[in-house]
Amino acid sequence: MENTTDDYKIQSFDLDTQMLLKTALKDPSSVNLVKVSNVIVDQSLKDQVFSKEAGRICYTIVQAEAKQNNGSVFRRNMLNRLQQEFKNREAMRGRSLQEWVCYVTFICNVFNYLKVNNMPMVALVHPVYDCLIRLAQPDALMKEEEVDCLVLQLHRIGEQLEKVNSPRMDELFFLLRDGFLLQEGLTSMARLLLLEILEFRAGGWLLSGTAHKYYYSEIAD
């Protein structure tokens, strides 16, 4: 299953960096993988489009490095950078909502693509939940960008997350129900998004045909 370079959405990088990334995909040991991982993480925090699919390019580089020389320099550095940002996430959120939302999108994307022996990375499970639960707090529910981010991630990885840790998913959904019912000042869009995600999970991470019609009938196919 070959991804074309287009799939990686690297057009937002300058040409030199694009070259660096393309080389990393084909011949990882010939480039500075620490630099590559930093480039990818930095861009993910700035570029919302990139952060949504950055996990894919990370996965390919990890596989390529492992195959070429059994190394894991890229993965190790990328994960540790993620961890650093995670530790400072509250400050990040205070500084820039956009960056925070990009971070959550990126870490969820990494969780989605970077598997170990086809299993999700155990080390990321709690951090991902911590991020999503933060997005479900009252102050975050007031921000449409955060609600939007939350429901997008749950659509993509909710089912997997629940499988690896069901109690925390319950914890998250208690907050979502409370938010939907009790939070004053929610925009109608926020309420719509919350209702949809509540129905989505209740339907076993699937929207019934009629529900789909209700929520998405306005959208052109």
Binding site: S30, N70, R76, L79, Q83, A123
Partner: protein, 283 residues
């Protein structure tokens, strides 16, 4: 055998003094303890001979009060917590991956053994070396996860070298002659800690025969040694290929044996470094 033990004990102590005289290097902490965390001095006191895995588990719990909270190992970029469940995500994922790999290997091995049980029993009578003299290998294989992980790490250090790469390219499995060609020790067999460590050491010594020629490999190693501050450790390792019979030179071995657990990475780095250098050419 007792002389060897005594010599080793003495040198472990001298080794520690020597290490501190070089000043605190990145590796000085990790050389004092094995990968399972137990202090080397205490392992020596245990008597070394026939120290099987249960003993090590006991000694580590006894010494838990004395050990510092964190130390630096070659695998990490900074101090990490002492216990095997390391704080940084990179290490956690690697550890997790290795555990899954070991379990998968165990299942494969079990299946293989069960399938070939009869032929195994017949072949057993000719080996007769240390350790497992059991009629059914499947029942007496090593299953302790901590032991298997430690052994796997040691094997990985050996396999993650240019020498190993060259060796497997040059000598396909069916061409291998026992005794002549190095064979990876079987991590699923029951061996004492000392016996296993010795097998690993001898295996790596044999692999050195496939080290890349001087211009490519050795000079690069020497350059990297100074950068990484590993002079004291690597000097010992480089002596190996010249020894006619490695079993008769215990004293330098003990220091490198101690450091082997933690210092395998330099060889791995050597391999990575030489590939990163554009002038070094391909491969």
């Amino acid at each position: 055998m007792s002389d060897w033990t005594r010599g080793r004990r003495r040198d472990a102590n001298n080794g520690e003094i020597e290490n501190s005289s070089y000043g605190p290097s990145r590796w000085s902490n990790c050389r004092k303890r094995g990968i399972d965390g137990s202090l080397r001095a205490d392992r020596e006191v245990d008597g070394g001979v026939g120290g099987d895995n249960n003993r090590h588990a006991d000694s580590s719990s006894k010494n838990s009060e004395k050990r510092p909270e964190s130390f630096t190992t070659p695998e990490s970029t900074g101090p990490v917590s002492r216990c095997s469940r390391q704080g940084d995500w990179g290490s956690q994922v690697e550890e997790d991956e290795m555990k899954k790999g070991v379990h998968r290997d165990m299942q494969r091995y079990r299946r293989r053994i069960l399938g070939a049980e009869v032929t195994q029993r017949e072949r057993k009578t000719s080996s007769g070396s240390s350790g497992s003299c059991d009629s059914k290998e499947g029942d007496h294989m090593e299953t302790d996860e901590a032991v298997l992980l430690r052994r796997q790490k040691q094997i990985n250090y050996g396999k993650n070298t240019l020498a190993y790469d060259r060796y497997i390219k040059e000598v396909p499995k069916h061409m291998r002659q026992s005794g002549v060609h190095p064979k990876t020790p079987n991590k699923f067999r029951k061996y004492s800690r000392r016996s296993w460590d010795q097998q690993i050491k001898l295996w790596k010594v044999k692999l050195h025969a496939w080290d890349p020629p001087a211009e490519e490999g050795q000079d690069n190693v020497l350059d990297n040694i100074e950068e990484l501050g590993l002079g004291d450790v690597m000097d010992i390792e480089l002596d190996f290929p010249n020894l006619p019979d490695s079993q008769n030179a215990p004293i330098p071995h003990s220091l490198s044996l101690d450091s082997e657990d933690c210092s395998g990475t330099p060889v791995k780095l050597q391999k990575t470094e030489s590939k990163v250098e554009p002038e070094m050419g391909s491969s």
